[in-house]
Symmetry: C2
Subunit: 342 residues, 2 copies
């Protein structure tokens, strides 16, 4: 089982995933020969090459689990960052703190078609993926040891994707990760001062100003945030105050449409960029003592899309201060003016 | 002049550097044709291709500024992340906060020899670079508008280096960056509880345990930290409690030796890795109202060396929780067993 270790200075947790353990020699080899996977484990017909499926959407009747006929397929990750077998145990080692790397790591294969990316799927197909991910997160949150589930996607090698076949991932963690906690704390602080959600206020401000908006429909809005860390960074939010991903269940179609259009615009703007997107939803609010389950009014779930076109360097690592060469107003204008047909 | 903009949720500052402004088309071009710089602006004979030098170490007598004969040369960055011409002004824009991107961005060309990296230089040559950087930081801190100066190095394209010729950089910022502040706050919190420096305690613990140490001499120690974020991450610290980089003035030779040996070991282990290193020194302690100048006992300057062998992906961006596949004990053992001759 992996370790979770805490930096004694900043309190930052790190996952030491011995399951993925790499010897120095493996890094040297990786540099020399590009690994080539001849057989894609996510393609139909290769279901036996993956761990047994957790769930599959099977539109065709009479297809059996772990065989062809699925539209979306959810699997345990073959090399999980956190392990689900075992117990959550915490201990001190000298002055250091650690806990067992208890968690879950699932892969959502988005389509049987190896050649398609999320943006190429139909609104209905994207809606199905979203629905399934919402259900998986709800299911994982039934285990109160999971404090947070991140849904994310790595598209392209620069963005950290190890397999080409389009897939999203879910990782459930036994701690509330620091970037999530920073947002939660910031939003709570704002709410205490103003009795309003900071994300709702941002949406209002962006609608007033207009110049950073990329796309908008009845239920969703996409804009380049005022303090964008990266060129063409885009946030996608429900316009109504909704604390968690599942709360947007009623307008999944609008969400799928917004996501598809924004990704198509990005592709046109940046000639098929590599990107990450991450879903920031509320931590586990199933009843538990303490702080988290009281959050209801002050957080607002959203998607952050980060095109990977610049490399972060020493300055960003050393300071956490990002240098963005493209003002979000310019990026948004460029994206807004691209027309896409779906 | 660039903008500094604050994310209204987390309080994270971002530099929008319009001076480096890139249109979407420039990213698309960058993908297609690799820019080739035929003439290196950092090589001797090309001094006129850079802005006038701020300082140069000229061992040969009778050489004139901005001409050949230098050993180390300090220049303003041609495309500065922050601008020194102008005033530090703060303002609100609707609900958002910004300030002018006032700061300084200097480049330290480490050697006239285009083919050499830091690890190839002699102990004396590395000592000279360190001395000059210490002096530059002291000089920049005379301007109390600068809250912090980061010294850092990007080695290799993967690590964000845009020019091959070996150089370090200094960036002075008008805010204390969040990663630095996290360390300062953590160290202060620890000191308040224990009346001891957390870094000094870590050094003691590492010496007791031994298994994460990479190298040690009279004045410096290098180890893979307990909660390493990256495979082969190494921290290098003065063994004596020293709050800022300048305080190690008395044992620069040991620092240069430790740096050279650690970089040589890394090169042997990872077959010439690309890396970043960053110097975390104390913020500006020149007399000023408030908090910072009181820090004397609780912070401990250090260098963090980060080999860039893995790509960060959506999970790390979304959570700030790093997945490290190589336990620091394994990395340190491997590095310790490599013998290098200098």
């Amino acid at each position: 089982m992996p370790d979770l270790r805490k930096d004694p200075i900043t309190g930052r947790w790190v996952i030491i995933s011995t399951a993925r353990g790499k010897r120095p020699s493996s890094f040297m080899t990786a540099k020399r020969e590009k690994t080539h996977i001849a057989i894609c484990p996510f393609c139909p017909g290769n279901e036996q090459r993956t761990p047994p499926e957790i769930y599959a959407l099977r539109p065709k009747e009479h297809t059996t689990p772990n065989s062809e006929g699925w539209q979306v397929r959810v699997l345990p990750n073959m090399f999980p960052a956190l392990g689900i077998d075992g117990e959550l145990e915490k201990k001190g080692i000298g002055m250091y703190d650690m806990m067992t790397g208890f968690g879950a790591h699932e892969v959502v294969v988005e389509t049987p078609d190896h050649t398609k990316s999320t943006r190429d799927l139909s609104i209905d197909e994207i809606s199905n993926i979203i629905t399934i991910c919402q259900d998986r997160i709800q299911d994982l949150y039934r285990d109160v040891r999971f404090r947070f589930v991140l849904m994310f996607k790595n598209e392209g090698e620069q963005a950290g994707a190890s397999l080409e076949h389009s897939h999203s991932q879910l990782i459930a963690t036994p701690v509330t990760p620091r970037r999530v906690k920073e947002e939660l704390d910031g939003a709570r602080h704002y709410y205490k001062q103003k009795e309003r959600c900071v994300f709702c206020d941002i949406i209002d401000q962006e609608k007033d100003v207009g110049k950073r908006i990329v796309y908008e429909n009845d239920a969703f809005i996409a804009f380049c945030p005022f303090a964008s860390r990266f060129p063409f960074e885009i946030w996608l939010l429900p316009k109504k105050h909704e604390v968690d991903f599942y709360a947007s269940r009623g307008h999944i179609n609008d969400m799928a449409r917004a996501l598809k259009i924004v990704l198509l615009k990005l592709t046109r703007a940046l000639d098929g960029p590599q990107y990450n997107y991450i879903v920031h939803t509320s931590p586990n609010r199933f009843p538990r003592r303490g702080y988290w389950h009281t959050i209801m009014e002050d957080y607002h779930w959203h998607i952050e899309i980060i095109p990977r076109i610049l490399r972060t360097a020493g300055f960003e690592w050393g300071t956490g201060l990002y240098i963005n060469p493209t003002p979000p107003e310019d990026a948004a204008k460029y994206l807004r003016e691209i027309t896409v047909t779906i």
